[in-house]
């Protein structure tokens, strides 16, 4: 059946899956950001740890989503739990890495000046270091966001309901309608998310300079 027919008949399903996808995305990104920034700060605090962690993260990052997903199942089962490892690796790690390197890149003299004025380490972190590292951190969030959309699409294979489900169904039944719909919608979603965050990145850079 044609695309329009499909939308007409299955519009509810598509809407539900789209909403589910966005919801999962939002939750994952929020979680990944909190964990990623938190861990990133912890890692950055001990400078030498950063120089070990960052290359290790880069290595893990390069691992294909499918492999992460496949490896995750025997450990965590199927369904959303099974998606946790790929979501962590592809979602948290870019943010962690960028937070760590962003903080490492803050000019030591600026920090020295701030401490000299009498700011506590926590204040220095919140008022000086994080704002300085913000563009890099947002860049990491952007990488993470795009990857998350992709991982969530793939999780359809382990039973997570998202727009990926349409693609999986489309392939399984050789039905172009859900296939194209699912692919287009996820593609548009990813591109939109990317552009919004590029804007955020640019805004952060402008605020700094």
């Amino acid at each position: 059946m044609t695309l329009l027919d499909y939308l007409h008949f299955q519009g509810d399903l598509v809407a539900r899956l789209a909403w589910q996808h966005m919801l999962l995305f939002g939750l994952s990104l929020a979680g990944a950001t909190i964990i990623g920034v938190g861990l990133g700060v912890a890692v950055a605090r001990v400078r030498w740890v950063a120089s070990v962690v960052v290359p290790a993260v880069n290595l893990l990052q390069a691992c294909p989503e499918v492999v992460l997903l496949a490896v995750s199942i025997p450990l965590l089962g199927i369904g959303f739990e099974g998606a946790l490892i790929p979501l962590f690796v592809k979602g948290v790690l870019p943010i962690l890495r960028n937070t760590a390197s962003g903080l490492a890149g803050v000019d030591a003299r600026t920090i020295e000046a701030a401490t000299g004025i009498g700011l506590t380490p926590r204040q220095v972190l919140l008022r000086i270091e994080l704002p300085s590292a913000l563009p890099v951190i947002i860049s990491g969030i952007r990488v993470s966001a795009v990857m998350l959309v992709s991982v969530l699409t793939l999780t359809a294979y382990i039973g997570v309901e998202s727009l990926g489900t349409l693609i999986v169904q489309g392939i399984a039944r050789m039905d172009p309608a859900p296939l194209i719909l699912g692919s287009l919608l996820t593609a548009l979603f990813a591109v939109a998310v990317n552009y919004i965050l590029v804007g955020a990145e640019r805004a952060a850079v402008n605020r700094l300079s």
Partner: protein, 211 residues
């Protein structure tokens, strides 16, 4: 059955799938190079189109890999061809971007000297700018190859074969051995490509008299 048993029983098939996987990945990267490097050079020579082209390949790169494969099916069909096309598209960004950047970062005094000596634009490109851009281009190739190896795992979904066959079968039958039998070669290939190409980069930088 456990992994060891599976391996001993099926290693010819695994080897076969691995070779097929490598073949597909290499085809894709070779094609991406054939298209991407000239595109990158074009962006460098015709500066105004750089933004458009880089944006375009960037957008393609953002599309979730499954969606990209999915879009190939109605457009091209199943099998090896759509798989390669999808991976080629995905590999364009690192190659085009790095070719462009590699050319852009050639030191201005080198460019000026080449011009002043009387080299033609083509001559400059071929004898000076491209050779000097090579390490950066090679870094892009490295990223593309590692990506391609990983992405080809999805190729099995559209009937192109490759190590994805083992992985997806493993997922649907919840067989740990199958999953590993498919994943480990993929990871090994990616790691080997990464290390090997890094060494090439270093060699190129040394030849350039930079490293």
């Amino acid at each position: 059955m456990n992994l060891f048993d599976y391996l001993t029983a099926n290693w010819p098939r695994i080897l076969d799938l691995t070779l097929h996987h490598i073949e597909l990945s290499l085809y894709a990267v070779a094609l991406a190079l054939a298209i991407g490097v000239p595109l990158g050079i074009l962006c460098y020579v015709v500066r105004p189109i750089a933004a458009i082209v880089l944006n375009a390949v960037s957008i393609i790169y953002t599309i979730p890999t499954l969606a990209l494969f999915g879009l190939m099916l109605p457009l091209i069909g199943i099998g090896v061809v759509p798989a390669i096309v999808a991976v080629v598209l995905y590999s364009l960004l690192p190659i085009v971007q790095n070719t462009y950047t590699g050319l852009m970062v050639v030191a201005p005094e080198i460019r000026e000297a080449a011009k002043g000596l009387g080299m033609s634009p083509g001559g400059r490109l071929w004898r000076v700018e491209l050779p000097l851009a090579l390490p950066i281009v090679s870094a892009g190739v490295r990223v593309a190859v590692v990506n391609a190896v990983g992405m080809m795992t999805l190729a099995s979904l559209i009937g192109a074969g490759g190590l994805g066959d083992l992985i997806f079968r493993g997922i649907s039958t919840l067989s740990w051995a199958l999953v590993l039998a498919g994943s480990v070669p993929v990871l090994a290939l990616a790691a080997l490509a990464d290390v090997g190409l890094k060494a090439l980069e270093r060699r190129l930088a040394a030849w350039q008299g930079i490293a």
